[in-house]
Every structure is written in structure tokens, then in C-alpha cells.
Amino acid sequence: MNSIEEKLWNYLDGTCSPEEHEEISRLITTDQTYQQKYQELLAFNQELESMELDAPPMAFTYNVMEAIRTEEASKPLKASIDHRIIKAIAAFFIGTIAILLMIALTGNHAENVHATVQIPVKVQLPTLTGYFSSPILKGFLFFDVVLALFLFDGYLRKKHTVVL
């Protein structure tokens, strides 16, 4: 600490140690220079404490909230989509593809299962075996695999960018 003023400001702000506080208190009561300066700084400090804040315009809060509402409304749809919905759709498709794959790979068993089902009304069920072995299914599965690889590639790229 250097000047009297600096010591007194620390005293007024309460940023000095208990020993320093005690010493300055003593000096204020015994030393005329300290006492005079202390009164001067105390008055100045009180003036600063009583200074007034500027008031913003009446419509300030309304303007802020309007700006926020406008910003929210102009957000791209991509940013406001709930990620849980996307995950649920993804889970549905993955499940469907997995089931289709299982049925396709175990084609014979599927036929057996189909045979045990009792249908009271005379309903002609389509024979799925033809579809599973057909090029349409193969094409569909191929498309799914390509799509999955494409999405996985996109995911890895995004992850890599975030890490960087």
C-alpha cells in the first residue's frame, strides 16, 4: 500500500486485513491528515452509493421479447425438430428392416408358421415367399444397406467436425 488515499479506500471498501483495519482506525482518530482525508472520501463514497441508474424506455422489455419471438419464429425447421422423434422413427425403420431380414433369411420357417395360422373366414393371404426371393426384395435390401452406409458416413463426418 502506498498513499493515504489508497489505505483509506481499502478501509472504506473493507478490503484490508484486520491488522490494517485496526491501524487505520487508530490513525483516523489520532492523525489530523488521515481524519480530514477520511471525511472527504467518506462523503464522496456516499455520493457514489446514491447515484441513480438510467431508466430504459417503457417498451424495453416488450421490444426484447418481440425480438426473441421473431428470432424463434425464423429459426430453421431443422433446429426445432425434437431429436427424440427422429430417434423413434430411426428405431422403427431399423426394427422393421431387422425383422424383414430375419424373415428373409429364415424363409422356410416363415412358411411353416404361416401354415399353422387358422383363419376362420375365407381370406386369400398373399404368398410372401415369392416376394422374398424376388429381385424386388433384394433391391429393397440393397437400397437399405446403401442408405444405412450413407447415413453412417454422414454421422461420422459430423462427429469428426465437432471434435475438430
Binding site: F44, S50, M51, P56, P57, F60, E71
Partner: protein, 193 residues
């Protein structure tokens, strides 16, 4: 009417999608944020722009508020960076017409000064006038310390400085303010005589 909820409760409500809660936060802090903006911009129009931008930025990054410091400390640091960016941009945009503007402002100030002489002005008026003449950093530190209920440590967080550095800056800012206040009052007395 001020909300009965604390800042943290209002933030939680805002994050759950209640925009009215954020409006309450704005109402609670707008006077101080506006005053801080005034310390930098010196005009009400610009201060309004800075204060509004600060609240919008705070809303956008509300999720990143960890609650480790007071909301006000976090908000004031946003005001500080927004105001600094505004000043930098303003300096670049209007450096050529700055001198002319300053000249006009000084003329207006002195004109207003004489006109107000007849009025019995409070000490608070002179303090505010002297603060307006300070550099933005000095004015901000004094305002944060006296009106923002901020400790030296919190001011250090807001300004990105060390607490000891803030202590020194506060001491110097008060010295400069005192000098300006004395000069203004002396000038006022001589005008009256």
C-alpha cells in the same frame, strides 16, 4: 411488479419454454443493464440497442449458464463484450465523422449546462455527469461496484481480469472521477459568479 422467483428459478422456467419468465428476468435487470450500456455508448438510442442485444444473446446462450456465478455477473459480462464489440464497430464505421459529432455533443453539453444553471441540481446529477466524462472502463467498474452489488472478484469475472487488477483500476477510476467532479463543480461555481 417484480417476480417473486429467484433468478435461477426464472432461468429454469425459461429453459422449460416459459418465455414470460424471461420477460421477468429482463424487467428485473433492465435498468442496470441499460445504465452499463450508457456508460459505453453515451446516447440512449445506442444504449438501448446494446442492452437489447445483450438480453437476446443471454437468452440464446441461457443453456450454457452453469449457475457457478450469479446470473447478474454472467449477464454483465455479456453486456461488456456486446458494448465493446459495438464500440469497435462504431469506431470503424464512423471514424471520419467522429470529430464532428463530438464537437456537436460538446456544444450541446455546454449549452445544456448553462440552461440548467438556474435549476437547483442535485449532487447526484454532478456525479452522473462526471461519470459520463470518464472512459467506459472506468465508468463501468465504478457502476458495477457501487450499483451492481458486485464484489471485486465478481467484477474481475465480468471484465476478465484479476481481482487485484480490478482493485487498482477501481482506485484509479475513483481518483479520476473525483478530479472531474471537482473540476465540474469549480466550473459551475465560476459560471454562477
Amino acid at each position: 411488479m417484480q417476480s417473486k422467483f429467484s433468478d435461477i428459478e426464472l432461468i429454469e422456467q425459461t429453459l422449460q419454454g416459459n418465455q414470460a419468465a424471461y420477460a421477468d428476468l429482463v424487467k428485473r435487470h433492465q435498468r442496470f443493464v441499460f445504465t452499463l450500456a450508457m456508460r459505453f455508448t453515451k446516447t440512449r438510442e445506442d444504449a438501448e440497442e446494446v442492452a437489447q442485444d445483450s438480453f437476446i444473446k443471454a437468452y440464446r446462450s441461457l443453456q450454457s449458464f452453469q449457475g457457478q456465478s450469479k446470473f447478474s455477473t454472467w449477464l454483465y459480462s455479456i453486456v461488456y463484450t456486446t458494448a465493446m464489440t459495438f464500440l469497435r464497430k462504431r469506431r470503424l464505421d464512423t471514424s471520419s465523422i467522429d470529430d464532428a459529432n463530438n464537437h456537436l455533443q460538446l456544444e450541446n453539453q455546454s449549452g445544456g449546462f448553462k440552461n440548467d444553471l438556474a435549476e437547483n441540481k442535485s449532487r447526484s446529477y454532478y456525479v452522473n455527469q462526471a461519470i459520463e466524462q470518464l472512459m467506459p472502463d472506468d465508468a463501468m467498474i465504478i457502476t458495477l461496484f457501487y450499483k451492481g452489488e458486485q464484489s471485486l472478484e465478481e467484477i474481475a469475472v465480468t471484465l476478465g481480469l484479476e481481482p487485484n487488477n480490478v482493485k487498482v483500476k477501481l482506485f484509479r477510476a475513483r481518483q479520476r472521477l473525483k478530479e472531474k467532479l471537482e473540476r465540474n463543480l469549480k466550473h459551475e461555481v465560476s459560471e454562477l459568479i
